[in-house]
């Protein structure tokens, strides 16, 4: 249930899916880096700068409602019948649940976080640390969230039913009247209104949020305490999701909201609608934090909530060093641990590892279907030589990602077909990644004027320029991949220099477009369809990309702080991107995407990297999962909280371990959602 | 000389080990010091005079220096055989020592008072206050003006002469019967040297201690000592009363030394008699007489065996085969002016 997730649609994939206990150690690092990404032009919806005396939240809210009457509408229940006449109410009840209703409640789950959180706020500065997932992203419900098993459909959370008025771009929601905050206060549309006010307020110090809420939504309409509607600015294939996937905040808790909100609310614990809450005396700074299941949670027996959020307590130890965390897991101090990296899965915890062989650790591979981080070499076309199409084509054939998949990932990884794999359909079946072929690469390089092979085997052109490029990367752990690429590229007479930078410097370098080639990827949220504007549009590459006649502008300057890593500017592609962003149906989306993928492929500034079709975890045998383990579109084990603790088995296992007895070895693989 | 001497050194041999070989820096040195008298040991650098002095205190640089043989009888006890504990009692107790460079003999980070009282407390059963009072008396005795002020100062705040006085005060702190002074005035100016020598003589008169004064300056010997040992290359060349040595020197080396010093009475800009050549190195000592290479009277037998120490007169001995054959020595007469 990533309610606010779609806002951070794209974030630097600092290998969140590959490392880190429970797969979160790096996400937080990525999000802030990417948050001020491409589209931000910081036009805020709410005026009233906080400089003048702030009258208090309630007064400011009332003033805002008055001033922005075109956004906030208040109608009567009678109007509802009129407005929704002829619309179909949905409640997602026709779709199967993914959790196991037989799951047992109780027990304590031991996990880790790489840092003690810098705040308990879930919005604003420092809020996007890994701990937020436990407060918000994975725990707090939205009105509706996308169904992770059946893309294109929603499941109900706070909303019990919803209706979509395509003509008016409006989505109506009926809220669960039993929903209540963890402090016992019932949830009403007052909170809904407050939530919009909150997200759109400049006081939250988050221009990206302000901008998103200004651009995405045209207005909300409240009918009664449990009914409201959201009107979208544009019609999109996933408009329902965009309207419904919003986490509300409790208005009563934010009565002190104001200019000092950042400081005032740093360590206050926000009441939640979710299953887990934080209690003051469970905060053991700096070593651990424990979450507790809300007693008699209002949604306990709701469809899509039952069988989930099973452990009574979730104990999060702060362990900064991933190696230490791994040791803690092997020792038994942590219950679940991501084994995504081949070094862990095969190297440090092989199947014959005593911990595994004794049955104390279960190793499980779960095949999921999500858009993978788009790992690739991005060739910066704004750099000399890389603006040459033949050079780029040569580089494509000189880069052996197939060997990376085979050697580094031991055959587990595959090469990404297009820039947008994993959205549930083949973007462009005609496209085939260019194979590693030194001879062919040399042909292209020769065409580009690199005809002489130097004494070191590197090609040079007649000006004496060596065919040598620097690959910038912030992934220290992927150095080995770059080493393979470097060694293999030599066969094509191409030299790669490897430059491993720390995250900030490396990110800055690519944001300033000073790299020649970067090994980078952006994390992508589970969505219905991919985004192109941010990474491929000309306006994110140059200030003035084209002359009026459409030809490249010779005086154009590289645009910094955008995610167009390859400085790609193609007028035809730009046109398609515009159409794509206005597309209202999935058919249009698919057709345009295929065309855009073709252009990107032909341009050859994106060297297809690798993807992994699964996530892998290790856990204790007393932790149980539903039949198919997790929903199809889950990214890691904690996202949907479907596991439960079998306390009897836990006791038995620990007794067996203490007695030195072995249990059955469990190396599991859930390939229900595996794609051919 | 019927009375037993305070200190008698017999056949002392001291060696330094380096690289497996032992260089004999002092070889067969013998002399006596009577109670209350002053013995000078004179010689050029490297002749072994300081080594002799340090051997008496058993303070040879370790681990290279070793006493190879002989006896050092002090108040009837052989210090060569003495235990560390006995030596400890002797050093700074019965024997006081004054060094050439007073600054290095004093601890730069402790007050004068602390150092003097420490020396006192080490050998005498005194309270701290009593020791402090006695230190002031001592400093007064060695001629330090306003000692109650100076006692609180640090060595660097004193002049060279004052420092040497402090060192002497420390050496005297336990009423030693013997004071060994190793070039006590070499680092000092002429006028200060005169003060210090005067001080030592007056202290000797008052306290009745014997002094072994080591110096290279024949003038100092002549002015201060009763008897003197002339050392050359680690051996005794000649010894006797100061009067005998300066007026009836029997050894060619003593004669050469006396002749080569410019005196106020020497005719100006005249050529001085010289001793040609230089002292042989420790490792290249010739067999026989060690002075042979520089001696104008050397003959074949001098190269064969070392000459024995022969008695010239009562209390005057010389180590030369030919002392009898040497021409008559013309003593330098005082200036006629």
């Amino acid at each position: 249930m990533n309610s606010t997730r779609p806002l951070f649609v794209i974030s630097l994939a600092l290998g969140a899916l590959f490392l880190g206990g429970c797969g979160k150690s790096d996400t937080q690092a990525s999000t802030p880096a990417a948050a001020p990404a491409a589209s931000v032009t910081a036009t805020t919806a709410t005026p009233a700068p906080a400089a003048t005396a702030f009258p208090g939240m309630e007064a400011d809210l009332q003033r805002t409602l008055k001033e922005q009457a075109s956004f906030y509408h208040f109608k009567t229940p009678a109007d509802l019948a009129k407005d929704t006449a002829g619309l179909t109410w949905e409640d997602g009840s026709d779709l199967p649940e993914f959790a196991d209703p037989a799951a047992k409640k109780g027990g304590t789950l031991n996990l880790y976080i790489p840092d003690f959180p810098g705040t308990f706020r879930t919005l604003g500065p420092d809020a996007s640390a890994s701990f937020r997932e436990f407060l918000l992203d994975y725990v707090a419900p939205a009105y509706t969230v996308p169904n992770p098993d059946v893309p294109g459909h929603e499941i109900p959370q706070i909303a019990t039913a919803w209706a979509f008025d395509r003509a008016h771009k409006t989505i109506f929601f009926k809220l669960d009247p039993t929903a209540r905050w963890s402090d016992g206060v019932p949830f009403t549309t007052d909170d809904v209104v407050f939530t919009y006010y909150y997200y759109r307020s400049p006081l939250i110090n988050d221009p990206w949020m302000n901008d998103f809420y200004a651009k995405t939504y045209d207005g909300i309409t409240v009918y009664d305490a449990h009914t409201f509607a959201v009107t979208m600015k544009d019609l999109k294939p996933d408009s329902v999701d965009r309207a419904g996937n919003v986490n509300p905040y409790p208005k009563h808790f934010f009565k002190d909201f104001g200019p000092n909100w950042v400081k005032d609310y740093n360590w206050r614990i926000t009441p939640t609608l979710g299953a887990y809450t934080l209690r003051e005396n469970d905060i053991k700074r700096p070593s651990s934090i424990t979450l507790t299941r809300v007693k008699d949670w209002w949604a306990d027996n709701r469809r899509f909530a039952r069988g989930r959020f099973n452990p009574d307590r979730i104990h999060l130890s702060v362990i900064r060093d991933p190696d230490k965390a791994f040791e803690a897991f092997v020792r038994g101090d942590l219950d679940i641990f991501s084994l995504q990296s081949p070094q862990l899965w095969y190297g440090k915890l092989p199947n014959d590892h005593p911990g595994v062989a004794s049955g104390f650790t279960v190793k499980t591979t779960f095949y999921n279907q999500i858009p993978p981080p788009n790992f690739a070499l991005w060739l910066n076309e704004a750099m000399p030589l890389l603006d040459n199409h033949d050079i780029r084509l040569g580089i494509q054939h000189a880069t052996d990602f197939a060997l990376v998949c085979q050697q580094y990932f031991r055959g587990d990884a595959t090469i990404q077909k297009t820039t947008a794999d994993g959205y549930g359909w083949d973007m462009n079946p005609a496209l085939k990644p260019r194979p590693f072929d030194p001879a062919k690469a040399r042909e292209y390089f020769t065409k580009a004027g690199f005809t002489t092979q130097g004494p070191d085997g590197i090609l040079t052109n007649k000006d004496g320029r060596r065919l040598s490029f620097t690959i910038t990367s912030t992934y220290k752990r992927y150095t080995d991949i770059l080493v393979i690429l470097k060694q293999e590229a030599l066969k094509a007479g191409l030299e790669y220099n490897i430059e491993i930078l720390d995250e900030t410097t490396g990110w800055q370098k690519t944001q300033e477009k000073k790299h020649e080639i970067t090994l980078a990827a952006l994390n992508r949220t589970v969505e219905m369809y991919p985004r192109y504007w941010e990474m491929y549009s000309g306006e994110n590459a140059y200030d003035v990309p084209y002359l009026p006649d459409g030809s490249p502008n010779p005086a154009r300057k590289v645009k910094t702080n955008t995610n167009n890593f390859s400085s790609l500017a193609n007028p035809e592609l730009d046109k398609l991107i515009k159409q794509y962003d206005k597309a209202e149906t999935m058919e249009q989306v698919k057709e345009l995407a295929a065309k855009m993928e073709q252009i990107i492929y032909d341009d050859a500034s994106w060297v297809n990297g690798w993807k992994l079709p699964f996530y892998r975890v290790g856990y204790r045998p007393w932790i149980k999962w539903p039949k198919y383990f997790d929903p199809m579109q889950s990214r890691d084990v904690e996202e949907f909280w479907t596991m439960w603790i079998d306390q009897d088995e836990q006791k038995a296992t620990l007794e067996a371990k203490a007695a030195g007895r072995s249990l059955p070895v469990q190396i599991l693989s859930y390939d229900h959602y595996k794609q051919p | 000389m019927s009375e037993a001497p305070l200190l008698e050194v017999r056949d002392l041999a001291v060696g330094f080990e380096s690289g497996g070989t032992v260089a004999r820096a002092v070889d067969g040195v013998s002399f006596r010091v009577a109670r209350g008298k002053t013995l000078g040991i004179v010689g050029e650098s490297g002749c072994g005079k300081s080594v002799t002095a340090f051997s008496i205190m058993r303070l040879l640089p370790q681990p290279h220096g070793k006493i190879l043989g002989g006896q050092i009888l002090f108040e009837g006890k052989d210090l060569v055989q003495a235990s560390e504990a006995e030596l400890h009692r002797v050093r700074g107790g019965r024997i006081g020592m004054v060094f050439q460079e007073p600054l290095s003999a004093l601890n730069p980070v402790q007050t004068i008072g602390r150092q003097v009282t420490e020396a006192l407390l080490l050998h005498k059963p005194l309270t701290k206050e009593a020791a402090w009072a006695e230190a002031i008396t001592l400093l007064d005795k060695v001629g330090i003006p306003s000692p109650e002020v100076r006692i609180k100062e640090y060595p660097h705040q004193l002049s060279g002469g004052m420092r040497q006085r402090v060192v002497i005060a420390m050496a005297l702190s336990c009423n030693p019967s013997l004071l060994i002074a190793d070039e006590p005035t070499t680092a000092l100016d002429v006028t200060i040297q005169a003060q210090i020598l005067e001080l030592m003589l007056s202290l000797q008169r008052d306290l009745g201690m014997a002094i072994v004064l080591i110096t290279h300056d024949l003038g100092v010997i002549a002015q201060v000592c009763d008897e003197a040992v002339v050392m050359y290359a680690g051996q005794v060349a000649e010894y006797g009363s100061v009067e005998a040595l300066f007026h009836r020197p029997a050894h060619p080396y003593t004669r050469g030394l006396l002749a080569s010093i410019p005196r106020l009475t020497t005719p100006r800009k005249s050529r001085l008699p010289t001793i040609e050549g230089a002292v042989p190195g420790l490792n290249e000592m010739p067999a026989g007489c060690r002075y042979q290479n520089r001696c104008p009277y050397a003959e074949a037998r001098c190269a064969v065996a070392p000459p024995p120490l022969e008695t010239v007169a009562e209390g005057h001995a010389v180590s030369c085969f030919r002392w009898r054959e040497l021409p008559e020595f013309k003593p330098v007469t005082p200036a006629s002016a």
């Binding site: - | 024949l218 003038g219 002549a222 002015q223 300066f246 010093i261 410019p262 106020l264 100006r268 005082p334």
Partner: protein, 341 residues
């Protein structure tokens, strides 16, 4: 003084050093090491400069060869004032003005052979070819009585006296006319001292050298000097013909000095006139006559006013200058050399 023009004429020379303190090393006091010294030195003459440590005699010597920069006054060497000359202009003059140092072990670079050491003057002044330089080295070694083979050996292989000969040879290399001898025999053993003194005297005769002979040894200075200047606390207190000075010392300090010499003559007992007290510091000299705190004859005038160096007429001496307010008659103080015991 109708004799030839002086080779060196020092007039009112002052060399002061700032005494620095604090973190910015500001000058907090001045050490007046040489404070207004004037004298002349004739060709072929030896002027002895005698005094105790800290009296400024070495500073004076070093100022004359411009190892130190004088604060005021002039140093006319053969008519040229060296006091203000720059390094480049000084260089040609250095050939005629050399120095012999106290400790030969210190003044010879231990890393160079004797040959290299003696060749250096020629290299610095660009004189002769390599061949000629080697010949010159041989000649120099001959002159100071060292074997020619010495050129290939290192200083530490020689005895103290031989090393001082090397130092003298180096000073002689450029055929100087004036040599500043800064305690040239003080570090030597008695038996060697006379060898070196003889050598210096021989060389003076042979090359008609002038010496400024700095020493604290009153016997030595008398032996080698024609005239002697006695320094006390940065000033000359008495300057006279050598014989005259010892026969009729006029300054109480000179008398104290002479009295303090330990004569190697046991029969020579003197009525000791021992100057009491310590040498004052040149940083903080006493007002008036610098010697007054130690002088048995000091009066109120001495405490108030510093006496200038004035010529005193005497029948026996052509020149005898003294810086004392009083004409102390020889009879007023005991004779330095007393009667035999």
């Amino acid at each position: 003084m109708s004799s030839p023009a002086p080779i060196l004429e020092v007039r009112d020379l002052k060399t002061h050093f700032p005494v620095r303190g604090g973190i910015w090393l500001r000058s907090v006091a001045t050490c007046k090491a040489v404070d207004g010294v004037s004298f002349q030195l004739l060709p072929g003459e030896t002027l002895g400069l005698v005094g105790e440590s800290g009296c400024g005699k070495s500073t004076l010597g070093k100022s004359i060869v411009r190892l130190l920069s004088p604060t005021a006054g002039s140093i006319r060497f053969e008519g040229v004032d060296l006091a203000t000359l720059g390094r480049k202009k000084l260089k040609p003059i250095r050939r005629h003005l050399q120095m012999i140092f106290q400790d030969p072990a210190e003044s010879l670079n231990a890393r160079h052979t004797v040959g290299q050491i003696l060749e250096e003057p020629f290299i610095i002044h660009g004189i002769g070819s390599a061949e000629e330089r080697r010949a010159s080295v041989d000649t120099l070694l001959d002159k100071v009585g060292l074997p020619r083979a010495a050129a290939h050996r290192y200083p530490f292989e020689f005895s103290g006296g031989q090393r001082q000969r090397i130092g003298i040879a180096r000073a002689l290399a450029l055929q100087p006319r004036l040599i500043i001898c800064d305690e040239p025999v003080s570090a030597l053993d008695v038996s060697i001292q006379s060898q070196v003194l003889n050598l210096l005297l021989d060389l003076q005769r042979e090359f008609h050298l002038s010496y400024l002979f700095i020493t604290h040894n009153l016997a030595v200075v008398k032996h080698v000097s024609d005239r002697i200047a006695v320094m006390y606390l940065g000033r000359i207190v008495e300057l006279s013909d050598a014989e005259e000075l010892y026969a009729r010392p006029r300054h109480p300090y000179t008398r104290a000095l002479i009295a303090a010499i330990p004569e190697p003559e046991p029969s020579a007992t003197r009525t000791r006139f021992i100057a009491t007290g310590d040498l004052p510091s040149p940083i903080n000299p006493p007002p008036g006559c610098p010697f007054h705190p130690r002088c048995p004859h000091a009066t109120e005038l001495c405490k108030r006013e510093a006496p200038p160096l004035r010529e005193t007429s005497s029948a026996t001496s052509p020149s005898h200058a003294v810086a004392c307010h009083y004409d102390l008659l020889p009879a007023a103080i005991p004779s330095p050399l007393g009667a035999p015991r």
